[in-house]
Point group: C2
Chain length 211, copies 2
Amino acid sequence: MSKGEQTRQAIIEKAAPLFNQRGFAGCSMADIMEATGLEKGGLYRHFSSKEELAAEVFRYAMQTAFDARLGDLPEGDAITKLRLMVERFVAIPSPLPGGCPLLNTAIDTDDGNPILLTLVKDALAKWKSRIRRIVQQGIDDGQITRSADPQSVANLIISTLEGALMITRLEGNRRALHDAQSSLESLLTMLAAKPAARLRKQNRRRPSHVK
Amino acid sequence: MSKGEQTRQAIIEKAAPLFNQRGFAGCSMADIMEATGLEKGGLYRHFSSKEELAAEVFRYAMQTAFDARLGDLPEGDAITKLRLMVERFVAIPSPLPGGCPLLNTAIDTDDGNPILLTLVKDALAKWKSRIRRIVQQGIDDGQITRSADPQSVANLIISTLEGALMITRLEGNRRALHDAQSSLESLLTMLAAKPAARLRKQNRRRPSHVK
């Protein structure tokens, strides 16, 4: 990484908690100058506008959050992966001060800032697609009931966790997140295919003459 | 209402969609002047600061949202009341442009603005308390299972609805809210006490010699 790239990355990392806590409108280029110790010229050499910086900061923030919560989900069955995803969201605080960058940026930009809005829509779509694929894998493996709708499961997991995070941050305790986890555990238990169905599925996979 | 009070109320009502869409930092007193057609002096005659105006706007916004969604819940059993509360949240769009003022203000202020933060905490506590009381009434009436925890039910209803609203606003369709409604319908069905328990409860209420 060149010295210029290092400076650029350092600006992004120092700006990230500010944007995440204060929102796009609540964070000025002057705040970033103060946090980075750079002069105006130094800052604008790397980012032509606050919009450009905010977009890079959001990409960095989401990558950090994805790595902490969705990164290296172990190989294994679908229910275990989903359970672990929920467990990590509840147990691991946002790596950035200010809570979940997806929720923050969604609320911050749903009535404005089209560049950030596109990025936050993409981030939501990526998370949902990750969950949908795991659910589909579980259905294909006979571990999750065929009646499960991967899209609905993704909506429910994300809704429940993000809404509970909002309550948890207001109340200053993790009760709402723990309630969300219990509820999603029940959902996953209900999604699990009955053992008989799993067995039928496994049997279908074997050549018919093998018992 | 005096002419002064009318002007004050008109300012609050014109400022409410602006604050709800843009957040506290994203909405300046100049924006309010433009929306109301008032000069700076006229505005500051009614509100000594942006903080004071934002606090009044939040109170107004929450009252409007509560009236639309929780107002005049019909007399009746607890499950019906909770079902209707969920149904209204899903069916009735926020009366203010910009989505739910509770969620918006929670995300906007959880790292700042202590006056608004206190107000949003109070609003959340009020909504939760409303749900808890209905659940407790259902338990007392034998309509809701004794194993239900009113606090957890309140957390789940609010988390699921608010999180789904975030997704719905990003995706531009109501799918996530409908998924939330189905999931909360299942929760309410599970909470409903078995008919046998209801019967026992009703019998306990009658004098023992009355069959």
